[in-house]
Symmetry: C2
Subunit: 161 residues, 2 copies
């Protein structure tokens, strides 16, 4: 598998920016594994976190081109630094009330929270780095996953110690 890169892009919150930025990756043949965009402290500025897998050289070309876009304020490949990565996942698991306890107990190992309970299903929420989230999903697979929503990764550089 190609190297995973986590790119943080700070943009002016104008419309069309998102499709121009994501279009830049796809024009170069990069498939985006995940993308998140949300407002920052300053609501006129949004931060995008893009996870792609691919070649270092091709990626640095994309980053150079992104930097030239009018609405792009800053682009950083966090992969080179030390950073905290987190993802949010909600999973709806099909489970009869008799086995509910078992699912909740397993979920607690991952510090997952129950966010909704139905007659035949549970919705659980978990956050963590990619590995933990994948392990949680694998665990839930045994019970039957009915729905799965992943936020995609967000990342923040680690603070100087």
């Amino acid at each position: 598998m190609q190297k995973k890169h986590t790119i943080s892009v700070l943009v002016e919150n104008h419309f069309g920016v998102l499709s121009r930025v994501s279009g830049m990756f796809s024009a170069r043949g990069f498939n985006i594994s995940s993308l998140c965009v949300g407002e920052t402290e300053d609501t006129s500025i949004s931060r995008m976190t893009v996870v792609v897998r691919g070649d270092d050289a091709a990626l640095s070309q994309v980053i150079q081109q992104l930097n030239k876009l009018v609405d792009v304020i800053d682009v950083k490949d966090l992969t080179a630094e030390s950073f905290v990565e987190r993802e949010l996942v909600m999973v709806q698991v099909g489970v009869e009330s008799a086995r509910r306890h078992e699912v909740i107990q397993l979920a607690s190992i991952f510090r997952a929270k129950v966010v909704d309970v139905g007659a035949q299903s549970l919705v659980l929420e978990v956050t963590g780095a990619e590995g933990k989230v994948n392990a949680f999903i694998d665990m839930m697979r045994g019970f039957g996953i009915e729905k799965l929503v992943r936020s995609g990764e967000i990342a923040i550089p680690r603070s100087p110690k």
Copy 2:
């Protein structure tokens, strides 16, 4: 403020889909408040959660057009149904070690977790619906927010009771 809509779009995980979908919203003048895209249980299929504010009639036109795109499998405006919404946020707060305890205590009210500690700062993680997340950010503002990353909202329909 215009009505908030949460749209869930299931797409084939091909490249370019993301920019085509987001471009469809901006072509109609919708500004995207947040967008998340991540893989589902089936890695060839991704789910996008898009939050926009705007006019119901214009939005149903966008949804109709999205449904016509080759790589779009399903589009749902969750706003009409009952759903669980969650967002993940990481905040880096500037704080000297003397006041660290105070921040952590306040954060615990929101069930925020400390994910990184530096000499002069803390990184906290919190999940919740928009209102809770905004209240948490407001609270942290008093200490000085150095960095803020939001995943944007993900949503899942509530289970039948």
